[in-house]
C-alpha cells in the first residue's frame, strides 16, 4: 500500500519514457505507463518474436519470417500481453470484425513458446502437442490426435480437440521456427468454419515455403542452440550483480557473432535496471565460435539470470 521507494528511483519503471511527456495536464485513459518486468532488446533493429504486426489485413512477423493473410473480415481487436518469463508469447489474436456473424463464430490465436525456456519438456512440435494432448481436461475430447502434416512445403503437427458440452472445437497447427514452437490455434463453434479457415491457411507464408519470396529466417537466421552458454563454450563470463528483483527469473536470448561476441540481447521479461545490468555484463562475455563445416556461424541461445523456475518431474512428455 505504501510506496517505500522514492519517486526518483522509480522513474525508470515508467514505460516508453522516451515517448511519454514528463508532465501531463491529464493522464490518458486506459494507458499503461508504469510497467513491471517487460520485454526489451539491446537494439531496435534486430527482429524479436513479439515484434509482429497486423497491417494491410495481414499478420507479419520478421523474426519468424511469417506472413499470414487474415481471413476475410477478421481483425486483431487487441494486442496480447508481453512475453512471459517462461518463454510464452501471444503473437496475435484474430477475431471476426462482426462478432454477431453466425457464419464466423471463431477465433485464431497465434502463439509462440520458446524451447529454451519453456517448462514443457519438449524438443519439437510433436512432443509439445503430445504434452497438451495428455493434459487435456476431463471435459475435452480428442478429435484428431497429433499427427504430421505438410503445409506450403513445411512440416506442421496438427491436433484437434473439442469440448462437446459447450460446443467448442479447437484445431492446432504447430511448427518449429528458430527453436520456438509457433502455434496457430483455431477455436470455432462448428467444423465447417474450421475447415474453411484451414483451407485459407494454405496461403500462409513461412520459412521453407517454395515461393521465391525472401524469408529472413531461412538461411539468414543464426543457428539456434539450447544451452550454448555452458562452461565448455564460454571463454569469458562476467556475472551481473542484480540488486533488486534478484529472485525473478530473467530469460535472455542472445545472438553471438562469428567471433564469439554477443551482438544482440533480447530480454523476454526484465525490469529495466536489471536489463541494463545484464546487458553491460553480456557485452564482456566471450564464447567459442560455433563452427559448421569448418566455418564459424552466428548462434542464438538462451540464458536465464536471476532465479530460474525449478524443474519438477511432475510433467512428463511422451515420445
Amino acid at each position: 500500500m505504501v510506496c517505500w521507494v522514492c519517486a526518483a528511483a522509480l522513474a525508470a519503471q515508467t514505460g516508453d519514457s522516451a515517448s511519454t511527456p514528463a508532465s501531463m495536464a491529464k493522464l490518458p485513459a486506459e494507458t499503461l505507463l508504469v510497467k513491471g518486468a517487460w520485454s526489451s532488446a539491446s537494439d531496435s533493429t534486430t527482429p524479436v518474436p513479439e515484434g509482429g504486426t497486423v497491417a494491410d489485413h495481414r499478420y507479419t512477423n520478421d523474426y519468424f519470417g511469417l506472413r499470414y493473410p487474415l481471413p476475410g473480415n477478421w481483425i486483431q481487436q487487441y494486442e496480447g500481453p508481453p512475453p512471459s518469463d517462461a518463454g510464452d508469447y501471444v503473437l496475435a489474436q484474430i477475431v471476426p470484425k462482426d462478432s454477431s456473424d453466425a457464419a464466423n463464430r471463431g477465433t485464431l490465436l497465434i502463439t509462440a513458446h520458446d524451447l529454451f525456456f519453456t517448462p514443457v519438456s519438449a524438443t519439437n512440435a510433436r512432443e509439445f502437442l503430445n504434452d497438451i494432448a495428455i493434459h487435456l481436461g476431463a471435459g475435452h475430447e480428442v478429435e484428431q490426435p497429433p499427427s504430421q502434416v505438410r503445409i506450403r512445403q513445411r512440416d506442421f503437427v496438427r491436433f484437434g480437440y473439442a469440448s462437446p458440452a459447450i460446443g467448442l472445437h479447437w484445431y492446432v497447427l504447430a511448427t518449429e521456427i528458430r527453436c520456438h514452437i509457433v502455434q496457430f490455434v483455431f477455436t470455432t463453434r462448428d467444423r465447417a468454419l474450421t475447415d474453411k479457415l484451414l483451407r485459407e491457411f494454405q496461403s500462409v507464408d513461412l520459412p521453407g515455403a517454395l515461393d521465391g519470396l525472401p524469408h529472413p529466417s531461412s538461411g539468414d537466421a543464426p543457428v539456434c542452440l539450447k544451452d550454448y552458454a555452458s562452461p565448455m563454450n564460454v571463454v569469458k563470463r562476467v556475472d551481473p550483480v542484480l540488486l533488486e528483483h534478484r529472485f525473478n527469473p530473467i530469460p535472455v536470448r542472445v545472438i553471438i557473432d562469428k567471433e564469439g561476441r554477443v551482438k544482440h540481447a533480447h530480454f523476454l521479461s526484465a525490469f529495466p535496471a536489471d536489463a541494463k545490468t545484464i546487458t553491460d555484463a553480456l557485452w564482456q562475455w566471450r564464447f567459442k565460435p560455433y563452427v559448421i563445416d569448418g566455418r564459424p556461424v552466428e548462434v542464438e541461445t538462451g540464458i536465464v539470470f536471476g532465479r530460474e523456475l525449478p524443474v519438477t518431474a511432475s510433467r512428463k512428455v511422451p515420445n
Binding site: 505504501v2 508504469v34 501471444v90 490465436l109 513458446h113 509439445f128 458440452a165 460446443g167
Partner: protein, 482 residues
Amino acid sequence: MSLRAAALLMPAGLLALSIASQGFAQTDPGVRPGAINGQTGATPTSPLPLPSVTPGGPLEFFQDGLERFQTAEVVAGGEDNGLGPRFNLESCSGCHSQPSVGGSSPPTNPQFTVISRGVASAQTNVVPTFITANGPVREARFPFFFTAGGAVNTNAPNGGVETLYTVSGRPDAGSGCNLTQPPFALAQSTNNIIFRIPTPTFGAGLLENIDDSTLIAIRRARSGNNLGISGAFNVNGNDGTIARFGWKAQNKSLQIFSGEAYNVEMGITSELFPQERALPGEESSGAGLPAACLNLGRAGYPEDTTHFSPTTSSSNPAVVNASIPSDAVQFSTFMRLLAPPLPSTTTPGGSNSIVNGRNAFVNIGCGSCHTPTINSTQPSNVTASLGNAAVNAFTDLEVHHMGTGLADNVSQGNAGGDQFRTAPLWGLGQRIFFLHDGRTSNLLVAIRTHSGQGSEANQVISNFNLLAPGTQQDLLNFLRSL
C-alpha cells in the same frame, strides 16, 4: 432470486443495476440469497471459524479477534486509541463486512457518513465525490505525483494510499494538528486517481498455508497452454518467497496485511509498523507529518502493542490469554481462523445449471487462472483445519497482465501497473462490487472487462463469447453459486 431476498442485501437501486440486462441476453442473477457464506449459523456480525477452532484456546482467540475487528477506534481517551492523524474508516469491519464481518464492501458505504456520524470533523473534511452512499468502500491512490503547477509528473510514480479523512477538528485530537485532505479534486480532474476496494478474507488462513512448491507446480502444469495465459509470482523482496495477499499479491502474510492496513487505513501504528504514516507526498518531500500531529493518542509508540497484562478479568483462562496479543496480531489470527465460504449446489438456477456452468468455466479456460482447487496446504501448527486441506479458492495466487482497461499504473513488488493477483472467487456469489476498484456490480460486465489491450484473458473471454447463451447463463449461475 426474489426481489425480497435481494432487498435484504442491497438497496433497490443497486438491485435494479444488478439484474438489468444492460443489452446482454444473459443476466447476472445478483447477490445470492440464503445462508451467509453458505454456512449454517453464520450471521452478518458472526462469521464462522474453521471446524477445528474449538473452545479451550482457538475459539476464544478467534472471538477476541472478531470483537477487535469490529471495534471503532478513536484518537484518544477511549479504550482503543491511536486513530489518525489520517484514516479511511474507523474500524476494520466497516469496510470488510459483506456478507459478514471479514468480507468485502457492504452495500451502503460507511465512509459516506463519516462526517455525519461525527467520526471526522465537518470543519476540516469533506466527503470526496468518489465516495457515494451506495457505492463501494474505497481507498484512493494517485499513480503519479504532481508538479508544483498541478500537472501530473509521469517521471515520478506514486501509487501510495492517499488517505481520505483527517482527525483534525475532532474533540479528542486536540487543537494543534491541522491537516488537509489530499487534492482529490485535482487528481480526478487530471485522471490521476485509482481506487481499491476491500478484499474479502474468508478462508485466508488456507491461502496463507499453501507451500510455494505447490503454487510453482500449478504454474508449471499450465505451461504451453493454448490460451495465451502466463502469469508470474509476486515475491517477498527479502527472502524471495511467494507473496499472496492484496490486489497485487504484495503482502507475504496475514500479519503483515493486518499491520499495514491498521497503519494505512486507520493510522494506527503497531509492532509491525511502528511509525506514524504520512501521505506519499509528505514522505517524498521529507516534510513528514507535523510534530503537532504525532502522538495524538498520548501513549507513545507504537499505539497498538502486546499487552503485558491481561485486559480482562474473565475466569476463562483462554479468554485471558487472548487478550494479551496486540490488535494487529489478533486481526491476523481472526482472519487466519475464518472458515472459507461454501458454495451452493442449487442456487441460483438449479443444480444442472451450476454443474454445466462449472464445466464451461473450466473448459473455456477460466480455471487456468482461477484454479478451482489447490491440493493442498502444508501441515499446520495452528489448527488442524488448516493442515493438509484442499483450498477451493478459485485462484492461482499469481499476478497476471490484465491489459490497459484494468491497469491502475501502480507498481507493487513484481507486479506492474497492469498486473493483478487472480482474485479468489470463493464467496463471489454474495459479493456486491467487482474488480479491484469496484467499478461494476454486474458480473457479466466484470467478466467482459477481463479482455482488453494487452490482457492475458483475451482468448478466454473470446471463448466465453462463443458459448451459447444458455451456457453463458449457466456459467453466471455457477459463479453466483460460489
